[in-house]
């Protein structure tokens, strides 16, 4: 069954947002009609659909590169009237659906370019403790590029909020209650920080461990706190990796965000003090910051698995051996290796697409000892073989070996993620 209209409308649905649910062939199943009435059965893909009308395109300043996987109108941001996103949802009990999200941005303000406004923006940013370079990154990195994504739309909305604050000298924004997808926040965080982390020799991963149609809450407020925390870590953490993990606590109706890194001693405490007591957060250990945000969820699905198994000496004798049995150290190293391997797998996939044998060899070389450290000598040996192929003349076996490796490595990593760290 598709979602009911009541589920979609939700009592706190923002007045300027409209959500339309459609079947995978474009037939509307439900619409909350906040902005315009769209009847059930309306064909979004019809040539006469409002999405296709040239007059509407002109009116909304719609970009021509409309596609089915993510659409944003006028990405320049200066004249955007509506933010529009189309998303295919193929998971979940309802089968394939399309979620069309339209947000009225008539209240959005333009980017500022004159010196006086720039100075006001700078002052404002200082007041809210978000590093200026992050804002610069947010405002400049994506402008002018043609590729569009809902995550970028979120970043632009975030930046609009800041600009709005500058114009109205407003620091504490009213809490919003809007529908959002947590995956977009996760991607937005990576988009904003990946390059900055890299330039500081740090690595960042962001993961969502649950499924839902969408959440309803203060999406920009959440983004702001995550940005603040990561901005602080960028300044204070000298090396290592940072992981941002999103989970949902259905009983408490809260979104849980855990930020794990390797800050300077007492780093998270300092961060917590700086962020004030307006948000509910706690420091789980000296290397983990836990943030909780009130959010409701639509069509929440329990994670396929939840990390629940404790690391044991029998299963990981190497880690226990080199740490002298220091369990907190075992957990730290285990998590670091797991993050490293996950990122290496992504790099390897890219190298395979590019058919870059030399790069494949380098990545295999790097991954080898890490799998061995987690008692997967079999996979380390497979990597050794792959590395040897890449350094030789004959690459005929490479693809087969890589595919075999990817299958066993993916399975191994999924299995390793069940351990509680």
């Amino acid at each position: 069954m598709p979602l009911s209209l009541e589920e979609i409308k939700y009592q706190h649905l923002k007045g300027s947002a409209q959500i339309i649910l459609a079947s995978s062939d474009g037939k509307v199943l439900a619409s909350c009609d906040t902005l315009a009435p769209i009847p059930v059965g309306y064909d979004l893909f019809d040539t006469e659909s409002f999405l296709q009308k040239p007059s509407l395109r002109d009116q909304l300043l719609l970009n021509e590169d409309l596609n089915m996987h993510g659409v944003r109108l006028n990405m320049g941001g200066t004249e955007a009237v509506y933010d529009l996103q189309l998303t295919h949802s193929s998971k979940g009990s309802n089968g394939a659906q399309i979620i069309l999200f339209i947000e009225d941005r008539t209240q959005s303000v333009t980017f500022i370019e004159d010196e006086e406004s720039e100075e006001k923006l700078r002052e404002f940013i200082l007041k809210i403790s978000t590093p200026l370079d992050i804002l610069k990154e947010l405002s400049l990195s994506e402008r002018g590029e043609k590729e569009v994504s809902p995550a970028r739309g979120l970043i632009m909305a975030y930046f609009d909020r800041f600009i709005h604050g500058v114009h109205h000298s407003q620091i504490n924004f009213p809490r919003e209650e809007v529908p959002f997808r947590v995956e977009h926040i996760s991607v937005a965080v990576e988009m904003c920080f990946a390059n900055m982390m890299k330039s500081r020799g740090l690595k960042l991963t962001s993961v969502v461990s649950f499924e839902s149609k969408f959440l309803i809450g203060d999406r920009l407020g959440i983004l702001q706190v995550v940005f603040q925390a990561l901005g602080y870590l960028l300044t204070e953490q000298k090396s290592g990796h940072v992981q941002v993990a999103f989970d949902y606590l259905p009983k408490q109706e809260q979104l849980e965000i855990e930020i794990s890194g390797a800050p300077e001693p007492a780093g998270y405490k300092v961060l917590a003090d700086r962020m004030g007591s307006e948000r509910e957060f706690s420091i789980e250990s000296e290397a983990t910051l836990r943030l909780l945000f009130d959010c409701r969820v639509v069509a929440y699905k329990t994670p396929v698995f939840k990390a629940s198994v404790t690391l044991s000496k029998n299963e990981f004798p190497y880690l226990f051996g080199i740490t002298g049995g220091d369990f907190s150290l075992v957990k730290d190293i285990f998590q670091t290796i797991l993050v490293s391997l996950t990122m290496d797998m992504d790099d390897l996939r890219k190298a395979m697409i590019q058919e870059d044998a030399e790069l494949i060899g380098r990545i295999a070389h790097k991954m080898k000892p890490n799998f061995a450290s987690l008692q997967r000598q079999d996979i380390a040996e497979a990597l050794q073989y792959i590395e040897e192929i890449t350094t030789g003349e004959d690459h005929t076996e490479l693809e087969t070996r890589l595919n075999e490796f990817m299958e066993s490595a993916d399975e191994a990593l999924e299995n390793l993620k069940k351990y509680k760290v």
Binding site: G240, I322, T323, G324, K366, K368
Partner: protein, 121 residues
Amino acid sequence: MTKQIRCVIIDDDFASRAILKGLIRQDVRLILVEESSGSADGALAVTKHKPDLIFLDLMMPGLDGYEMLEVLDYMPKIIVVTTERNYKSELFKNRISEYLYKPVESLEMFTKAVDQAMKTY
């Protein structure tokens, strides 16, 4: 009182650095003064801190471990940490004190390598 051995880790793989840091924490003689993810930063760290011991990965993007050894005028004891089993450098045999192979086999092996490297210290 025994003088502490000040060491630097230079390795582009943060998982390897995490393991080395774990091992260093187990050895009360050692104190980590800096870790670097690249040889350029590593060379700066060595110049700045003048450590007694470096744990050096040879295979790194950009300037590799060999090239870094060539640019250093200050030369502490060096333990090469490499994935290549049984690898020994002929070219730098006078400058490299010991070898550890990833993943470092055991705490005992690590301690032994440090002992060996620092025996003339």
